[in-house]
């Protein structure tokens, strides 16, 4: 049995034929669409490595069946930078050394982008730590991650102010 869905993936709308109803968004990206930037750390919603944005909200792509996503807009780590220009969260992660091995990093960054958009944490470190705790980093780069999210939050708020002015 096969089904075709339409996705807007990192800004480009495309039809995707699903060969199997069991396919998760994570395995669709990684194994079928040649987009392995999103990582698998547990495949059951326990680590956050697979975090992407679906319709602007952060979700664990390993827990999301691709078949449920017809018409959805999806942003992955590959779609965050604008050409050479990194997203402020990506820049902040490099500057604050918010990673070591880099394996959890795509998920951390997508989660941070989602968290900032939720607007619940601001630049309060304690709330950021809480809001980022669905993303495990075994290298334990948490200190840098928190600082990176703080810094990106501030910078994005300033840029928004600048845009509004």
């Amino acid at each position: 049995m096969s089904l075709s869905i339409t996705l807007t993936l990192n800004g480009a709308t495309r039809a995707v034929a699903l060969d199997d109803m069991r396919v998760t968004l994570l395995d669709l990206l990684r194994e079928r669409l040649a987009m392995p930037g999103t990582k698998k750390g547990c495949d059951r919603g326990q680590c956050g490595a697979c975090t992407v944005l679906v319709n602007g909200k952060r979700v664990n792509s390993c827990l999301t069946l691709a078949a449920t996503l017809d018409g959805a807009e999806i942003t992955t780590i590959e779609g965050l930078a604008k050409g050479e220009a990194l997203h402020p969260v990506q820049e902040a992660f490099i500057k604050a050394d918010g990673f070591q091995c880099g394996y959890c990093t795509p998920g951390q960054i997508m989660s941070a982008v989602g968290l900032i958009a939720e607007g619940r944490a601001g630049d309060d470190p304690e709330r950021i730590r809480e809001g980022m705790s669905g993303n495990i980093c075994r290298c334990a780069a948490y200190h840098g991650i928190t600082r990176a999210v703080q810094e990106a939050t501030r910078r994005m708020a300033e840029e928004q102010k600048g845009d509004a002015a």
Partner: protein, 746 residues
């Protein structure tokens, strides 16, 4: 061997807090990890793990699995193709016996019992489920009390020897005060975020592997041995590791199965362990029970440290956690004894996990030391200072350098240790939380392995440096390039650095906190070899200001070549090369430690960790509210990355102290909490008030670069510091790790 008589000056790159050079690749998702590879015609492999710890597999529904659409093949012990190498042999020093469907015996839960190959990952997983194994189960032995201990036969890797210095019985007899305490540490699992993964491709009798490994060239030899091909027929690409922590240093059975399947099917095979499978055939930190008998004289000087460790290993291989060794080398006791015993359980073979021996041993030692200080009525820091070792205890060897006193002083100062009440249970915060302060000393040896490197100076003034061993997150892409650039006096952006492929010069092992020192020395000497050749060219060139310099020593900095100690004569490197006809100059380097250095000196990195905990008096919940670590680890090549690594290590210490424990089901022997929901590792919300101080240390002896290594020491003092802080908050001395809510309730 490098010249160890000449300490090396700081270049302009070493010491700089440069951001990771692989940063952009990592934040954009472009950094390729092994399982990201997707060759054409790929088959997916998933293995079935045993659900019991001991017995036999009596039935597998192979027909049901094979009938599932997409499943192409099922391997079981009945039809597994032959291997040329004996899986019970250990092809290299860093190998364990692997389980690759030899027979139907189950030796531990999680052992591979069948392998399913399919066109899709979904079909392979479903095939595994359909196998519905049945077992003949025997009672399993999974706790330290379930089998009879044996004395460890010393024999290198995984079989620690006993060490005795001084008259232990006299030390006991001389004690005015003594304690006799037993601590336990739990089985812990590495759980790198990237699970083990491999993509195996054969081309005739040549094998290419995309597989994360901390030891590329050793792994080539090991995998080659299983398949009866020369090591040079195997190439491994391992540019990025999603964390290693020791578990990716050792060839593992599932990888052998994937390679075997690829050969049998004539197609590339990808196998990625599930998170649950990370609790099985890929090593772990074995459980320990440690008895410590300490004595002091009336003034508080230690007369004896007598440390016996009981370590769990598997029924079929040896890796006994060398925990008791942590008591050697640190405190100036009159007598020292470290002994090890093992116990064979129905578990996967343990292995090295970040600070093997030191982490578990120090956890027990530092708490015992606190108990001894308490018995002597002394402040824990004062007690450690009374017993400060100026030379290595037992051997009397001088330390190459030891700024531990400064670590104590700077850490205590930053933490605000002064004024700590001696008695426990004295401090509460505004919320009424019981508050306690504890400390621990950290020590980690400075091993060097062996590595080779190549430096190529190109006519355009840029350079290429190459060594195989990879970056698993410690920052080698960056710090090794900094060392390399300094050897040629080049700015970092002119240096290209290649690593992570077995075809490059053998970079040795990225592990044991020795990679920066070992591969760094190899890269440095390769650069120096280029400088030497440049000097020869310039010296022979009548047009060079360095003409006739003969066998003077040359140094390179600021893009020029100089005669050492003479700042009048120099020549631009680019011009030397240009006048010589625009040649490429290639230098070779090696890194290792001359044996005499180890015989003459004791070499360790040191540190002091101070912890503050808050314990909820009603709920028993523990929070670590502050953690300050001061470390002296020789020359720091990149302070930004070093801070990250030390912090990461300290957070591992927090996980050891409060979270990490694999619990076995007594009925089946299976690990009950084999996933990240059940096996807790620290998350972001666990981490606050973390501070790292790096204490300046010049070490002219440890290696020419003065590097000691920081990968593991962070975990070492932290566990004890947290345990001691919990005692100080509550008055409860919990003698096992992790310490949980049930321990502190009531």
């Amino acid at each position: 061997m490098p010249d160890t008589t000449q300490p090396i000056r700081f270049g302009s790159n070493a010491g700089q807090p440069v951001s990771r050079r692989d940063g952009i690749a990592k934040v954009t998702g472009a950094a390729p990890f092994a399982a990201d590879n997707q060759p054409d015609n790929l088959l997916h492999a998933v293995y079935a793990p045993a659900a019991i710890a001991r017995g036999r597999v009596t039935h597998l529904d192979v027909a049901a699995a094979r009938a599932h659409p997409g499943v192409t093949h099922v391997f079981t012990p009945a039809n597994r193709p032959a291997l040329e190498g004996d899986p019970d042999d250990k092809p290299t020093m860093f190998s364990f016996r692997v389980e690759v469907l030899q027979d139907d015996t189950v030796r531990y839960a999680g052992q591979p019992i069948a392998l399913v190959l399919a066109e899709t990952l979904e079909a392979a997983h479903e095939g595994v489920r359909l196998l519905a194994p049945r077992y003949d189960m025997e009672p399993s032995r999974v706790t330290l009390d379930d089998a009879t201990p044996f004395d460890v036969e010393p024999g290198g890797f995984g079989r620690p020897a006993a060490t005795v210095h001084g008259d232990v019985e006299a030390g006991h007899a001389a004690a005015a005060r003594a304690i006799d305490v037993t601590y336990e540490t739990a089985a812990q699992y590495h759980n790198a975020m990237e699970t083990h993964a491999i993509v195996a491709q054969w081309d005739g009798d040549r094998l290419h592997l995309d597989v994360p490994t901390q030891a590329l060239n050793i792994s080539c030899a090991a995998y080659a041995a299983f398949f009866g091909i020369p090591a040079e027929n195997v190439t491994i690409s391992s540019p990025y590791l999603g964390g290693g922590f020791g578990s990716k240093a050792i060839p593992i059975g599932p990888n052998v199965l994937a390679i075997l399947a690829a050969r049998a099917m004539g197609r590339p095979v990808k196998l990625m362990l599930t998170r649950q499978q990370m609790f099985g055939p890929v090593g772990h930190r074995g459980a320990t029970r440690q008895r410590l008998r300490l004595g002091t004289d009336a003034a508080g000087a230690l007369t004896v440290i007598d440390h016996d460790g009981l370590s769990a290993t598997s029924t079929f291989d040896d890796f006994m956690e060398p925990a008791a060794n942590a008591s050697q080398g640190l405190y100036a006791a009159g007598a020292l004894r470290s002994t090890h015993r093992g116990v064979r359980l129905d578990i996967g073979t343990p292995g090295p996990m970040r600070a093997p021996g030191e982490a578990s041993g120090s956890a027990a030692l530092e708490c015992a030391l606190d108990e001894m200080a308490e018995a002597a009525g002394l402040d824990p820091l004062d007690f450690r200072l009374i017993n400060y070792a100026e030379t290595e205890p037992g051997t009397g060897k001088p330390y190459t350098s030891k700024a531990l006193r400064e670590c104590y002083a700077q850490g205590a100062e930053r933490f605000g240790w002064a004024g700590r009440p001696l008695a426990p249970g004295q401090m509460r915060d505004e919320q009424g939380m019981l508050t306690g302060w504890g400390m621990g000393t950290a020590l980690f040896p400075c091993p060097m392995f062996f590595a080779e490197a190549r430096a190529t100076l190109r006519p355009d003034g840029t350079a290429l440096f190459e060594t195989s061993a990879a970056d698993m997150g410690q920052g080698a892409w960056t710090s090794l390039a900094q060392i390399a650039a300094d050897s040629l006096g080049l700015p970092l952006e002119k240096v290209e650095f290649h690593a992570g492929h077995s075809s490059l010069p053998d970079g040795g092992v990225a592990g044991g906190s020795g990679h920066t020192a070992t591969a760094g020395t190899a890269l440095h000497t390769a650069g120096i070899d280029v400088v030497r050749q440049l000097g020869e060219i310039a010296s022979a060139d009548p047009d060079s200001p360095l003409h006739g310099a003969g066998n003077a020593r040359f140094v390179a900095h600021d893009g020029r070549l100089w005669i050492e100690g003479d700042d009048q004569r120099s020549d631009a490197i680019e011009e030397i090369v240009m006048r010589a006809g625009g040649v490429e100059i290639t230098g070779q380097g090696q890194g290792g430690r001359p044996q005499e250095v180890g015989e003459t000196y004791a070499m360790n990195a040191h540190g002091a960790v101070f912890a503050e905990v808050k314990v909820d008096p009603d709920l028993g919940q523990v929070r670590v509210s502050r953690l300050v670590g001061a470390f002296a680890a020789g020359r720091i090549i990149n302070p930004k990355l070093v801070e990250s690594q030390l912090m990461g290590g300290m957070i591992w210490g927090l996980g050891f102290a409060l979270h990490e424990k694999a619990s076995h089901d007594p009925a089946t022997g299976r690990i009950l909490n084999a996933d990240l929901a059940g096996y807790h590792v620290p998350v972001n919300a666990d981490v606050q008030g973390l501070e790292v101080i790096t204490v300046h240390e010049d070490d002219p002896h440890v290696n020419p670069l003065g590097i000691k290594g920081v990968g593991e020491i962070g975990i070492v003092g932290t566990v004890g510091a947290i345990g001691n802080a919990i005692w100080h908050a509550t008055g409860k001395r919990i003698r096992h790790f992790p310490i949980g809510i049930p321990d502190l309730l009531g």
